[in-house]
Symmetry: C2
Subunit: 188 residues, 2 copies
DNA sequence: CCACAGTGGAACATTGATGTTCCAAAATAG
DNA sequence: CTATTTTGGAACATCAATGTTCCACTGTGG
């Protein structure tokens, strides 16, 4: 119960976290009981791992931050043309799935060293956009933080489109990336 | 108390409705007490006008539907090129302000005869997009319902951008419409 | 087989939102 | 000014979510 990871405990803990992600993504006001059911676990057990609702939410934030961070790293936003980098970032973020919905439904501000959705545009992202200005792949009339807003908005659009229409995940991603490239493209 | 609109009553009723719009737009889980305070009215009075929370929410839906409908009419989406019509629609919707946030935060499905955000694309909207295909102002690889998703997503982006950055409402609108036109424009 | 970590269910106290009732004060109409 | 409408506050009952405690059950490792 202290800090030894007994295998079973780690598995349960993760199951709860995953369930919480899925449940809260669909309904931010969901009950801890809902989460417990989704995790296939008793409410008592849930409280054993996360005493508070707040504690669970915090864990969720941390997890989301980690996932977002690794996705961002995978995208290697420092390479290629600006637009290409944005495209890769969009793709990686899209794959986060439920995590994205969390970031929207709750207005999670990722506090840690991770990427931020709300806060002022971070340097790396801004550098990527600026690079796009230079190499002619990104419309100069779009400020970097607006590009970031567009990225999030279109990811959101993609997922709600996926949820509401009968469309393959692949087709939704295609539309998102296509539209993302289109919106960045300088007027020709 | 029956059905006579005594002037005072109508005014109070509207104040509550407006307050509810503003409050729920920022926090869907807000208390009825919060709404009452925002309306400058006692909680008792609020219950006098809307017995239930559900009743208040219903009234909110109806109001939102009406506002959305008139905005849509003002946009005259049957005229001009497809892209121009989308632009006007975007402008009109943008002016709805808090109503928009409501449509996102809650997942209000506008049931009545009004425009729908979630449901399958409505005929008028689809006709507008199709017209855009024909007149060359809208990219043929964008399905009509995806265009609708994009419209909503970018409006959302505009408002969150407005809320989080220090940007004028006018500038936010400019970015939204610019990006909207950009994303629709066929590859040339 | 036994010890024990891990679990689930029942019961309970607590809390905050909700909805209701009642009454006195304030605003408005006549 | 007087009668009526409209309002706000206090008090109350209800309800659902929360968090806690306790105990019995299960499975696994020894």
């Amino acid at each position: 119960m202290t800090d030894t990871v007994s295998g079973s405990r780690a598995r349960t803990r993760q199951a709860i976290l995953d369930a919480a992600t899925a449940v809260f993504a669909r309904n931010p006001g969901a009950t801890l009981g809902d989460v417990a059911v989704a995790a296939g676990v008793g409410r008592t057990t849930l409280h054993r791992y996360y005493a508070d609702r707040a504690e669970l939410v915090t864990a969720l934030h941390i997890e989301a931050g980690r996932r977002l961070e690794t996705a961002r790293l995978r995208a290697r936003i420092g390479e290629d043309t600006g637009a290409e980098a944005v495209r890769r970032l969009g793709q990686e973020y899209f794959d986060l799935g439920d995590i994205l919905s969390l970031l929207f439904n709750d207005q999670i501000t990722l506090d840690g060293g991770a990427a931020e959705k709300d806060d002022a545009c971070d340097p790396e992202f801004e550098a990527m956009v600026r690079r796009g200005y230079e190499d002619g792949s990104i419309d100069r009339s779009l400020p970097a933080d607006w590009v970031q807003s567009l990225l999030w908005a279109q990811l959101y659009a993609g997922w709600s489109y996926l949820a509401e229409r009968q469309v393959s995940r692949h087709e939704a991603l295609r539309l998102v990336l296509h539209s993302l490239m289109n919106v960045l493209r300088p007027r020709g």
